[in-house]
Amino acid sequence: MAAASPEQASRALRPARAGRKLPLQLVVGASIVCVILALALLAPLIAPHPWDTINVRARFLAPNATYWLGTDDYGRDVLSRLLVGARLSIFMGVTATAISLAVGIPIGLAAGFFKGRIDEILMRGADVLLSVPPILLGLLVLAVTPPALWKTAVAVGFVYIPPMARLTRSVTLALAEEDFIQAARARGESTAYILFREILPNAWPPLIVEGSLRVSYAILLAAALSFLGLGAQPPSSDWGLMISEARSFIDNAPWIALAPGFAMCLLVIGVNLVGDGLRETLDPRLRHRVAGKG
């Protein structure tokens, strides 16, 4: 019947209802992320050993009662380095995503709302950036200057601007077609009001979902860059760098590489679960269709 299609359209826009049961993914993911976050914040207090003190007599110790995760080639405690390194990973992920959101969202809003030439220029620019694989784009940016942690974060953030802008644009394009935008124009509302008071509040759900998934991509990309020697520099305890340095001893002391590897997987899985859980809650298009068909 005639009412069916608008009914479906409305579901895409409907705000999440309060009091609904939270999806399992979100609960599990948020728990993982919260635990890692707490450990990272408390790292200086709870780390059993100093993370950067070299101890020649304690090199390559396998996990034991004193060094729960063993020691590395300089005799440093792997667990302590891991805890401190968590801060770096989280910092990278969050900073890079914040940068991509802060730049990508305005670009996408402008492209989607003004359309025409502005859209064409912005999106062709994004196409060009997207046609270089992210890691190479990061490499290119980092090749210019001596490596440093914050530069890696900026580079990774830069790399993820085009996809953020694209997503924002497509959401904006869809929302700009809605009649409540026409209603706002019929009231003579300013462009700023329409963009930030009418469109943006409705665009948030997919952007938040995408942003949270981007955090995990950013962590991985930053780690890969560090792994290639273009991010954090020794003696930093960045996880990517730790894995990179541990490669030479992989046969004899695999725990040095495995510990940061598993830590990173856990963090990324946690962030991903949060992202998917948020999608389930915030983005009703993916929710199960309610059956009662006319």
Binding site: D127, S131, I135, L136, L139, S216, A224, M264
Partner: protein
């Protein structure tokens, strides 16, 4: 259709040109002074200045770009200062070896990934579906460089089946070559399979829920026909785009994999040229990667258009 092909071609060319400008702009900001790199750090300033003039490094950047780009257009990427070799053949050899690695991996990823995705969608909530879901999380959460460590640890360290790194050319015998390429291929496939199967699954699911599939069932067609003839045909279109996207991811992947496995391909060459500030090699390498990616996208677009009647046959009311 011809109009569409023309526009895609023009766009691919535009992307390559724009990327070349981007690369040149970024590398021109490089603080490492080429003249000092050649003459050594303690060269007298007047000698440095003379070389800079000779190399045209004091010209405006657009002039430098034009010189570089017009030479690159005919395949001349200059001479690598560091290796003392022309860049073009060096990059050419490397990209050929990378292409072998990436090509084999891509075939595996495409065939197995799409197959798993379709199976997961058809037998929704079955064992394959759950397997794909778990694998998806692993595939997304485990970075390539960690996969490679795990592969080395298991197959080279523990089982001692495969060499931990290195590359042997084909003329030393097919099995020697294959023996060395298994580990990097395996790593790449592990790292990228989940992405393809997950997206294939979702486009297949969407197709399975569309009205025309219900209409096909309403004709009393057997489920097999409904899936293969009606759903799969339409689900393949978005999958093509996904596969093209994955070519890009794969090229990012080889940078890491080649470094870990000491595989002498383009990825390792690029990392090396960055670490040693070998400008010309870096520019040529990245430009080639962008060109390959643009070609892959072009191929995907054309295949998409060819398979999609809406593009292949314009709108004409019969």
């Amino acid at each position: 259709m011809t109009g569409y092909v023309l526009r895609r071609l023009v766009f691919a060319a535009f992307v390559v040109v724009a990327v070349s400008m981007l690369i040149f702009a970024i590398t021109s900001l490089l603080p490492a002074n080429v003249a000092y790199l050649i003459l050594g750090q303690f060269a007298p300033p007047e000698q440095v200045r003379a070389l800079e003039i000779k190399l045209g490094l004091l010209d405006p950047i657009p002039v430098q770009y034009w010189r570089w780009a017009s030479a690159a257009f005919v395949g001349d990427f200059g001479v690598s200062m560091l290796m003392d070799r022309p860049v073009a053949p060096m990059v050419g050899e490397a990209i050929l070896r990378s292409a072998v690695l990436a090509g084999i991996s891509f075939v595996f990823i495409a065939v197995v990934g799409v197959g798993l995705g379709v199976l997961a969608a058809v037998k929704r909530n079955g064992p394959v579906d759950h397997g794909v879901s778990v694998a998806t999380y692993l595939g997304i959460a485990v970075p390539e460089f960690f996969w490679s460590i795990v592969v080395i640890l298991l197959f080279a360290g523990y089982f001692r089946w495969l060499p931990a790194s290195g590359y042997e050319p084909m003329d030393k015998g097919f099995w020697t070559w294959a023996h060395h390429i298994v580990a990097p291929v395996m790593t790449l496939v592990f790292a990228h399979l989940a992405h393809v199967s997950r997206l294939t699954r979702s486009s297949m699911l969407e197709a399975m829920q569309s009205p025309y599939v219900t209409a096909a069932r309403a004709k009393g067609l057997p489920e097999r026909t409904v899936v293969l003839r009606h759903a799969l045909r339409n689900a393949m279109l978005p999958t093509i785009t996904v596969l093209a996207l994955d070519v890009g991811r794969l090229m990012g992947g080889i940078v890491v994999i080649e470094t870990v496995f000491s595989y002498p391909g383009l990825g390792r060459l690029l990392v090396f040229s960055i670490q040693s500030r070998d400008l010309l090699t870096l520019q040529a390498g990245i430009l080639l990667v962008a060109a390959v990616y643009a070609l892959a996208n072009l191929a995907a677009d054309l295949l998409y258009a060819w398979l999609n009647p809406k593009i292949r046959y314009g709108r004409s009311v019969a």
